[in-house]
C-alpha cells in the first residue's frame, strides 16, 4: 500500500509534534482509584507504547490525556498548557466509531470539526483517505467495509484534524493477525511521515515492541517500568533482538502481577 505523502500538496499537513507532561495524575471513580499519582514526560515526536493488563488504568490514562475526562488530582499539560488538550491530542478508539449514516469521506470530514467548510473538508478527507490507502472507497457506506478498513477510516479521521499528539487506545485489538500487522505498519509509516507524538495503549507486547520508541508498563494505577527500545526501524519480528526485548517486557508484566 502506498503511503507516499507530498507535504506541499496535502492541506492537512499537521502542526509540529507536541510534548506531553503528567504530574501526580490521580483518577478515582467513586471509591475506586484507577490511577494513583502518575508522573510521565513524553518528548515531542516520540512513539510511546503503554502496556498493562486489562483494568490497569491505561485506557483511563489516554482519556485524561485527550481531555475526554479530567483527572481527580494532578496536572496534564501539552506543550506546557493544560487547556485545549482535546484539540491538540486526538484519540483513536478501540472501535472505529464511524457514523453509519455518513459516507466514508463525510466520516473522515468529522475530524475537521463542525465549523469546517464543507468543500474543503471533503477535499482534505480524500487526501487523508489516500494516506491510509482507501482513496477509492470515499463514496461508500461504512457498513460494507471490513473491520480493518473501518479502523483505517478512523485513522484518516484522526489524521485529517492534524493532531500534534495521536493517542491510540488499542485500536487494532479486534483485528485478525494479518490485518493487525498491516495496520501496525501503516500507523508506523504515518507517524514517520507526519511527525506527531504517538501514544499507543495495548496489551499486546509484540505490538508495543514493534512500534514503540519507549515502553511504559502500568500496573495497579502506577508506572512500574519505563524502558527505551532502541531497535532500528523497520523492526523485524522474527529477529533475536526483537525477541529478547519482548521477553524482557513480558518479564516486567508478569513480575508486576504478583
Amino acid at each position: 500500500m502506498s503511503v507516499a505523502m507530498d507535504h506541499d500538496t496535502l492541506p492537512s499537513r499537521p502542526g509540529p509534534a507536541a510534548s506531553l507532561t503528567l504530574r501526580g495524575v490521580r483518577k478515582t471513580f467513586g471509591a475506586k482509584t484507577v490511577l494513583n499519582g502518575v508522573d510521565l514526560h513524553v518528548p515531542s515526536g516520540q512513539f510511546l507504547a503503554i502496556v498493562g493488563r486489562s483494568g490497569c488504568g491505561k485506557s483511563t490514562l489516554l482519556r485524561l490525556i485527550t481531555g475526554l475526562d479530567e483527572p481527580t488530582a494532578g496536572k496534564i499539560a501539552i506543550e506546557g498548557a493544560s487547556e485545549g488538550r482535546a484539540r491538540l491530542a486526538r484519540i483513536m478508539f478501540q472501535e472505529p466509531r464511524l457514523l453509519p449514516w455518513a459516507r466514508v469521506d463525510a466520516n473522515v470530514a468529522i475530524g475537521l470539526g463542525p465549523d469546517a467548510d464543507r468543500k474543503l473538508a471533503l477535499t482534505r478527507s480524500r487526501d487523508a483517505l489516500a494516506t491510509v490507502g482507501l482513496a477509492d472507497r470515499a463514496g461508500e457506506w461504512p457498513s460494507i467495509l471490513s473491520g480493518g478498513q473501518k479502523q483505517r477510516v478512523a485513522l484518516a479521521r484522526a489524521l485529517v484534524s492534524a493532531p500534534r499528539i495521536l493517542a491510540l487506545d488499542e485500536p487494532l485489538g479486534a483485528l485478525d493477525a494479518l490485518t493487525r500487522i498491516e495496520m501496525q505498519r501503516l500507523v508506523e509509516q504515518v507517524w514517520l511521515s507526519n511527525g506527531f507524538t504517538a501514544i499507543l495503549v495495548t496489551h499486546d507486547v509484540t505490538e508495543a515492541v514493534a512500534l514503540g520508541d519507549r515502553i511504559v508498563v502500568i500496573d495497579r494505577g502506577g508506572i512500574t517500568a519505563d524502558l527505551p527500545i532502541d531497535l532500528v526501524r523497520p523492526r523485524r519480528r522474527g529477529s533475536p533482538e526483537f525477541a529478547r526485548v519482548e521477553e524482557g517486557i513480558l518479564g516486567h508484566l508478569l513480575a508486576s502481577a504478583d
Binding site: 485527550t66 481531555g67 475526554l68 482535546a86 484539540r87 486526538r90 484519540i91 478508539f93 472501535e95 466509531r97 457514523l99 453509519p100 449514516w101 455518513a102 468529522i110 475530524g111 475537521l112 470539526g113 463542525p114 465549523d115 457506506w141 461504512p142 457498513s143 460494507i144 479521521r157 484534524s161
Partner: protein, 239 residues
C-alpha cells in the same frame, strides 16, 4: 376478484349482502360524477393530514425534548404515560361535548391518536443513539446543534419512522371511527349514510378507499425510509 364477480353475477350472493365488484366500481363512478366522492375524499384526507401534522408535530417535539433533557423528561413523561393508557377513542363522547361535531373534534382525536406512537418512538430513538458515537463526535468539537444534526437526528430517525408508520395506522383507524360517529362529511360519513339506505356498494367502496388510503400512506413512508435510511445494510442492494 373473478370469483367474487362470478358469485355475485350468478346470484349466489345477494346484492344487498355483498355487491359485485362491478357494482362497487359503478358506485365509485356515479359518486365521482356527482362530486360527492372527491369532496368526501378530500375532506377525510385533510382531516387525517391535519391531525397527523398537529399530533405528530407535538409528539416529535416532545419526544426529542424528553430524549435530550432529563429535566423535561422527569416533569412530563409520567403524565404522558398516564394519558397514553386511556384508549383515545374512549374520549370521543367527551370530545363531542367539548368541540361539538365540527372539525375541531376530529382534528383533536386524530392528533391525540398519532401523538403517542410518534412520541414514544422518537424518545426511544433519541435515547438509543450510540453513546460512543456521541463521545467520538464530542471529541472533535461537536456540541449542540451540529451534534444533533450529524449524530442524534440521523441516529434516531429509523425509530422515528417506525413511529410514523404506526401513527399512520392509528390515524386512519381514529378517523374512520370519528367520522362514523360524529361527522357530516368524509368517507366514514358517506359509509354511514349508505347504511341508512342499504347501499352496500357504497359501504364496500368506503372500506376499499380506506384500505387504499392506508396503503398509500404506508408506501409514502417506505419511500421516505428508502431515501433517508439508505445507509442501512438491509436497504442496500447487492454490491
Amino acid at each position: 376478484m373473478v370469483a367474487w364477480q362470478a358469485c355475485a353475477s350468478l346470484g349466489w350472493i345477494a346484492d344487498t349482502f355483498m355487491p359485485s365488484p362491478y357494482a362497487v366500481a359503478a358506485a365509485a363512478w356515479r359518486l365521482t360524477l356527482s362530486g360527492e366522492l372527491p369532496q368526501n375524499l378530500v375532506v377525510s384526507a385533510l382531516r387525517a393530514l391535519g391531525g397527523l401534522v398537529v399530533g405528530g408535530g407535538i409528539g416529535l417535539a416532545l419526544g426529542l425534548l424528553n430524549g435530550l433533557s432529563r429535566l423535561s423528561f422527569s416533569v412530563t413523561d409520567t403524565s404522558v404515560q398516564m394519558i397514553r393508557n386511556v384508549p383515545h377513542l374512549a374520549l370521543i363522547p367527551l370530545v363531542i361535548v367539548w368541540f361539538g361535531i365540527d372539525e375541531g373534534a376530529k382534528l383533536f382525536i386524530v392528533a391525540l391518536g398519532v401523538f403517542f406512537p410518534i412520541y414514544l418512538n422518537t424518545l426511544h430513538g433519541v435515547r438509543s443513539v450510540d453513546a460512543q458515537l456521541i463521545e467520538m463526535a464530542g471529541s472533535y468539537g461537536f456540541r449542540g446543534w451540529p451534534l444533533f444534526r450529524r449524530v442524534i437526528w440521523p441516529g434516531a430517525l429509523p425509530s422515528i419512522l417506525v413511529g410514523l408508520r404506526f401513527a399512520l395506522g392509528v390515524m386512519w383507524l381514529t378517523l374512520i371511527f370519528a367520522e362514523t360517529i360524529a361527522a357530516q362529511s368524509g368517507i366514514g360519513y358517506m359509509a354511514m349514510q349508505a347504511r341508512e339506505f342499504m347501499q352496500t356498494d357504497v359501504i364496500v367502496l368506503s372500506i376499499l378507499l380506506y384500505a387504499l388510503l392506508g396503503k398509500g400512506a404506508d408506501s409514502l413512508v417506505k419511500v421516505l425510509e428508502r431515501w433517508q435510511l439508505a445507509w442501512r445494510p438491509a436497504l442496500q442492494g447487492p454490491q
